[in-house]
């Protein structure tokens, strides 16, 4: 307007064409937007599989009654006590357990619980299976052997004076299906994600776990940095803690289980004490059960200081170097000749005999439905 050019219309046309060019977006471009699915969407996809029913529904419903307990019922009772995962989560866990039973053909399975970790959590299922994988045990021992070979090679090249220190012999693991390894444990971080089987626990891991205190990160292959050093990674530590928790806290009403003694095959092995459900159990009234601790018993075998449920006499197994053994025997007769067998409280002992009870109550009673009683 200040300049008064002659071809004002042309200038305006030019300007409007420039504006339109800027605003115009090409309808078709060769690049397409890749939609990035968020973590929530990915998880939802995996959890969708939980809700798809499988075929053979009639057979599965019959099987489920005996193999899996009704988790909704169990969750209801636990909720009265103030413990639980919330309704939706319990439902998802129940469906995931069903899938586990079907994929691994387990004979018994139940939800053991949930352990919180720093990055993600663990949902743990306790299971019994008929197929005891001996191949897996051989694989685990084979992995340890090549390490020893490498060490032997290094020693030949650079002769170093041999130390006379002999580490104490490793306490052998209990066989799968007995003692601390009675059940097999499966772990997943969210229901819907694949279940991972935890390795069986060794006594050395249990004794080390008793001495350390560490948070779980949520990754099974995480290496723990602890003192004393823990022989294994987070999966082993998790398994050891599960064994300790089960041995210390799983209780049942007195009389619900009865002892079924099996005779041991060899005279050296102590008889395996196991239990079964007592068909003549009538139950005790709630008042009595809530007042004294002797109405509740432990039904999981106590883990001895050695780290196993049945004691193993290590001195009897040292047969390779009889000369050295004799010398050692002469020095410390009490310790090596006759190591005292470790004895723990027998199975099905009432809680009132737990040591340490005098200091504080380890178990606590609480009446639920208090308002209803009034």
């Amino acid at each position: 307007m200040d300049e008064h050019p002659d071809d004002a219309v042309d200038v305006i046309e030019e300007m409007s064409r420039n504006v339109k060019q800027d605003v115009f977006k090409g309808l078709r471009s060769t690049l397409r937007n890749v939609s990035q699915s968020s973590a929530a969407e990915l998880l939802a996809e995996q959890q969708r599989l939980l809700f798809t029913p499988k075929d053979d529904s009639a057979q599965t419903t019959e099987m489920m009654g005996t193999v899996l307990p009704n988790l909704n019922e169990v969750a209801f009772y636990l909720e009265q006590a103030g413990v639980g995962l919330g309704r939706e989560e319990t439902q998802r866990v129940f469906l995931a357990l069903k899938h586990l039973v079907e994929s691994e053909s387990l004979t018994h399975c139940r939800l053991w619980g949930k352990i919180l970790g720093r990055e993600s959590n663990y949902i743990i299922a306790e299971a019994e299976t008929e197929y005891r994988d001996e191949e897996e045990e051989l694989k685990q021992s084979a992995e340890e052997a090549p390490e020893e070979e490498k060490e032997a090679e290094a020693k030949e090249k650079f002769p170093v004076p041999r130390s006379t220190y002999k580490p104490p012999p490793l306490v052998p693991k209990e066989a799968i299906g007995t003692g601390a390894n009675k059940y097999v444990y499966y772990v997943c971080s969210e229901p819907g994600l694949p279940w991972v089987k935890l390795p069986s626990v060794s006594p050395a891991q249990i004794s080390a776990a008793r001495q350390i205190k560490k948070f779980f990160t949520g990754r099974l292959n995480h290496q723990l940095l602890t003192y004393p050093p823990f022989p294994g990674n987070e999966a082993n530590y998790l398994r050891a803690q599960i064994a300790r928790i089960s041995a210390g806290t799983q209780v049942s009403p007195h009389g619900f289980y009865q002892i079924l003694e099996e005779e041991g095959d060899e005279s050296d092995e102590p008889s395996q004490v196991s239990y079964e459900v007592n068909p003549e159990f009538e139950g005790t009234p709630v008042d009595e059960m809530a007042k004294s601790l002797s109405t509740w018993v432990h039904h999981v075998p106590h883990i001895l200081r050695q780290g196993r449920c049945t004691w193993v006499n290590l001195a009897a197994k040292q047969q390779k170097d009889p000369n050295e053994d004799e010398e050692a025997d002469e020095e410390d007769e009490e310790e090596h000749d006759e190591p005292e067998p470790e004895v723990g409280p027998p199975l099905l002992t009432p809680l009132s005999e737990d040591t340490g009870q005098k200091l504080f109550n380890i178990f606590r009673f609480q009446f639920c439905f208090e308002l209803r009683l009034i």
Binding site: S38, A39, A40, L43, A44, Q47, E79, Q80, A81, G82, V83, G84, L85, G86, R87, E88, E89, G113, K114, L116, G117, R118, E119, S120, N121, K213, K214, F215, F360, N361, R364, C368, F369, E370, L371
Partner: protein, 276 residues
């Protein structure tokens, strides 16, 4: 968590394993409403539960006009009858620190005896003054105060400081976005800021004095004492404190829903640096 939103917020924090039974929830909704009317609070929050050996203490918090300064705590055993906890003084904190050890017993009149090495009988008599007795009620009040001071969490932007110095809820808080909720520096402690605000101007450039007047969680020592996770099919952002085991903070991204609850035994995890 707010008593108004209690019935759905309790469903968002069960991942930690501790929940309230349906009976307790129903009783709480009724009694908290009555409490709000009787004490004339602006808001009543269900603070959490401290578990003792024989009984559990359920704790509620009432807030007045200034959300940070006007706070009162009440405890109850059966969710219906509430008792006021004493206000905290520095001398009370000191006494409790000396005397209280072990788990909570569950009896509010239980007296903790400090282990003092006194050489004369006169000292013994002086120790038994009524004022210096450390009852469990005092220990409860001090513990609740410590937990709020050290690990109470709010998302950034949920509270604003008015020019008069009053701290109030921000009505236009729309929630953190998904990506913001994954970062720890968007969460702050809801207590008097202790760390002096001597940060570089670069960092302070994005701050607003009305919103950023609280300590950020990333400044906590030791690093790693917070565990940030997404639960409930990755919809809810949940923070667990590892210092006071049992404190859970939840926030649903893109909504103004947030809150924290403490359900635990009221013991600070002093082994934390070794456990990380």
């Amino acid at each position: 968590m707010d008593s108004d939103s209690l019935y759905y917020s309790l469903d968002l924090v069960p991942g930690c394993g501790n929940i309230l039974s349906a009976e307790q929830r129903a009783a709480l909704q009724t009694s908290l409403a009555i409490l709000k009317k009787n004490y004339k609070f602006q808001r009543v929050l269900f603070w959490g539960k401290i578990m003792g050996l024989t009984e559990d203490y359920l704790i509620a918090q009432g807030r007045g006009e200034d959300e940070m300064k006007d706070r009162k705590y009440l405890y109850s055993f059966n969710c219906m009858d509430w008792f006021l906890l004493p206000t905290i003084t520095d001398s009370m904190i000191e006494q409790v620190a000396k005397a209280a050890k072990g788990c909570f017993t569950g009896d509010p009149s239980f007296v903790y005896e400090p282990k003092t090495h006194s050489y004369t009988a006169a000292d013994n008599a002086a120790d038994e003054d009524a004022e210096t007795k450390v009852t469990e009620e005092k220990r409860l009040a001090v513990t609740v105060h410590h937990i709020d001071e050290e690990v109470s969490v709010v998302p950034r932007g949920a509270f604003i400081k008015t020019p008069h110095g009053l701290v109030q809820t921000n009505c236009s808080f729309g929630g953190l976005s998904d990506s913001e909720a994954r970062k720890l520096h968007n969460f702050m402690h809801f207590s008097q800021p202790r760390k002096s605000q001597k940060k570089s101007i670069l960092k302070m450039g994005e701050w607003s004095p009305a919103i950023d007047f609280l300590d950020v969680l990333t400044d906590d020592t030791p690093k790693g004492s917070w565990s940030l996770q997404f639960q409930c099919a990755s919809k809810v952002c949940v923070l667990h404190s590892l210092l006071w085991l049992g404190l859970t903070f939840y926030h649903v991204p893109m909504t103004p829903q947030h809150g924290y609850i403490y359900i635990g035994d009221g013991l600070k995890s002093l082994d934390l640096p070794f456990m990380l």
